[in-house]
């Protein structure tokens, strides 16, 4: 307490600093951020998985050829492959050998070797141009033109299923994300209310000294936004570490095929501290404004 030097004086914060070190609030917001980031990573990974699967399926079609009475199965398959190869958008059409066709149905019919005479349908595998794939109808028309009895499976049924599943995952992810954001907002609103009640006398003096409601609310807004940003940093950091561990542990055939997390995905958690701060700021401001108007 030596000589006071006004030149060196810096204004102290209007609200007691100690209030800002609320460990439990930081922990709760950090946990919520962590969960939100994990949700985000899961949605990104599910999306990538779905895109990988549909990507494979769009590049391929399978044609089942049923030989007519006057034709051998192999002959029909060969004719079908020839007809399909000429369709624009088809890169390659290949008749599968009898053995392959038999192998495919073996699980259902058992060893078909002694069913030599059974007219087993032959399969033609078609590789499509990924840029301009031939449509199922185009393939169908080409086969019909050759008078072939065949069924085109362009995998569109599967793809729709996968797309629907991926869409559902996105919606659920979005809903969980929104729920977590609302929970974070509610926690901050709760903390703001407690903070205002605890500092009622400070709020009153500021108010009576001519501070505008928005100014007082701003003090709480900044305080909680900062706190949430710090918490968000912890939460997002923990989620990124978790994602990195999954990426490592996943390796070639671990989790990766199911939930393929890419290193780049880890960047998606970067805006989390900002998002947490924004949610906290809005929540604290609205709560504080309403309470100050009530109090005064």
């Amino acid at each position: 307490m030596s000589e006071f030097d006004a030149e060196r004086w810096r204004p102290a914060p209007f609200l007691p600093e100690a209030d800002a070190k609320d460990g439990s609030l930081i922990f709760v917001v950090a946990t919520l951020c962590f969960l939100a980031c994990l949700t985000l990573l899961a949605v990104l990974a599910a999306d990538r998985a779905a895109r990988g699967w549909t990507g494979h399926l769009t590049n391929e079609a399978t044609i089942i050829v049923r030989p007519k009475a006057n034709e051998t199965p192999d002959g029909a398959a060969a004719r079908a492959a020839e007809a399909l190869a000429g369709v624009p958008g088809v890169v390659e059409a290949r008749a599968l050998e009898k053995e392959k066709a038999e192998a495919l149905i073996a699980p259902w019919l058992g060893d078909a070797a002694d069913l030599e005479d059974l007219p087993i349908p032959r399969l033609v595998s078609v590789l499509l141009d990924p840029e301009t794939p031939a449509t199922g109808e185009a393939l169908d028309r080409a086969l019909k033109a050759q008078g072939l009895d065949a069924i085109v499976d362009d995998h569109s049924v599967w793809m729709k299923d996968i797309e629907r599943a991926a869409g559902t995952a996105r919606v659920i992810g979005g809903a969980v994300f929104a729920l977590i954001a609302i929970a974070a907002g509610a926690v901050v609103a709760f903390a703001t209310r407690a903070g205002l009640a605890a500092r009622r006398e400070v709020v009153e003096v500021l108010h009576l000294s001519g501070a505008e409601d928005g100014f007082i609310a701003g003090l709480f807004q900044i305080r909680f936004a900062r706190m949430a940003a710090t918490a968000g940093l912890f939460g997002a950091g923990a989620a990124a570490i978790m994602g990195a561990v999954l990426r490592f542990a996943g390796g070639g055939d671990g989790l990766t095929p199911v939930l393929p997390i890419a290193w780049i995905d880890l960047l998606a958690v970067a805006p989390a501290p900002l998002a947490a701060a924004a949610v906290a700021a809005v929540s604290a401001r609205l709560t504080a404004l309403a309470l100050i108007r009530d109090m005064m």
């Binding site: 307490m1 006071f4 006004a6 600093e17 009576l208 000294s209």
Partner: protein
């Protein structure tokens, strides 16, 4: 002086800084605490409000610093009807009113210097523009060696003078002081009175609520006396 001239000039329809017209006030559903008050305070005037404990002195001041509303009658502040002032305008009106609260209302987490600077910061002034003035004001109220001190470490009389410094630091047009000598000995009471007289000479309108008859006598200033919420004596300077 210039600020009061300005205040009067801006609302020259009504030169009074404060005007009560048949004002009553009650807390919630309780009976009226203040009943049919009519008086006005001219710019640059100096008045005391006296009365027994519970007579309504603090309540009267609350009406003026906009912490309470009349339940009846008309109250004008700086020529404006307070019931017609928009909420967003009120903070700016409050900045023209300095208040020494009966219970001080110092902020415990702020030093004496920071407490004093509070109204200036709220008014949006830059620290460079007032640091030196705040230091001088604190020296003037005898707290030169206590500028760093936290309120909890101050003696009653020191807190009182700190509260006074905060009330006057923004050069208010009107200063309201509630029992400003309640916690100090006679000597200190007279020092505080000299401080108010000095401020009044600089043009500030002053209204002091007190029990302290010695203080009133020593000042020779006019008195508004409250008896159970009614005004029973009007000072010569505050003609109704």
């Amino acid at each position: 002086m210039s600020r009061n001239t300005h205040a009067a000039g801006a609302f020259d329809a009504d030169p009074a800084v404060v005007r009560f017209d048949d004002v009553s006030m009650r807390y919630g559903r309780a009976p009226e605490t203040l009943k049919d008050l009519t008086f006005s305070l001219a710019p640059g005037s100096f008045h005391f409000v006296t009365g027994a404990s519970g007579a309504g002195k603090t309540s009267l001041l609350k009406l003026i610093f906009l912490a309470a509303r009349p339940s009846k009658g008309l109250l004008h502040l700086f020529g404006q009807d307070v019931s017609a002032i928009a909420p967003r305008e009120q903070p700016f009106l409050r900045r023209r009113i300095g208040v020494v609260y009966q219970e001080f209302k110092l902020l415990e987490h702020l030093s004496a210097f920071d407490n004093t600077a509070l109204p200036l910061r709220i008014a949006g002034r830059k620290p460079e523009s007032y640091r030196q003035d705040v230091a001088e004001l604190l020296a003037w109220v005898g707290l030169r060696s206590r500028m760093h001190a936290m309120p909890a470490t101050l003696a009653g009389g020191e807190k009182q003078r700190l509260a006074i410094a905060r009330a006057v630091v923004n050069r208010p047009d009107i200063l309201l002081a509630d029992e400003p000598t309640g916690n100090v000995d006679h000597e200190m009471g007279l020092r505080i009175l000299r401080l108010f007289v000095e401020l009044n000479r600089l043009g500030t309108t002053i209204l002091i609520a007190t029990h302290d008859q010695d203080l009133v006598a020593a000042s020779g200033m006019p008195v508004l006396h409250l008896d159970e919420g009614r005004l029973t004596q009007l000072g010569a300077g505050g003609e109704a």
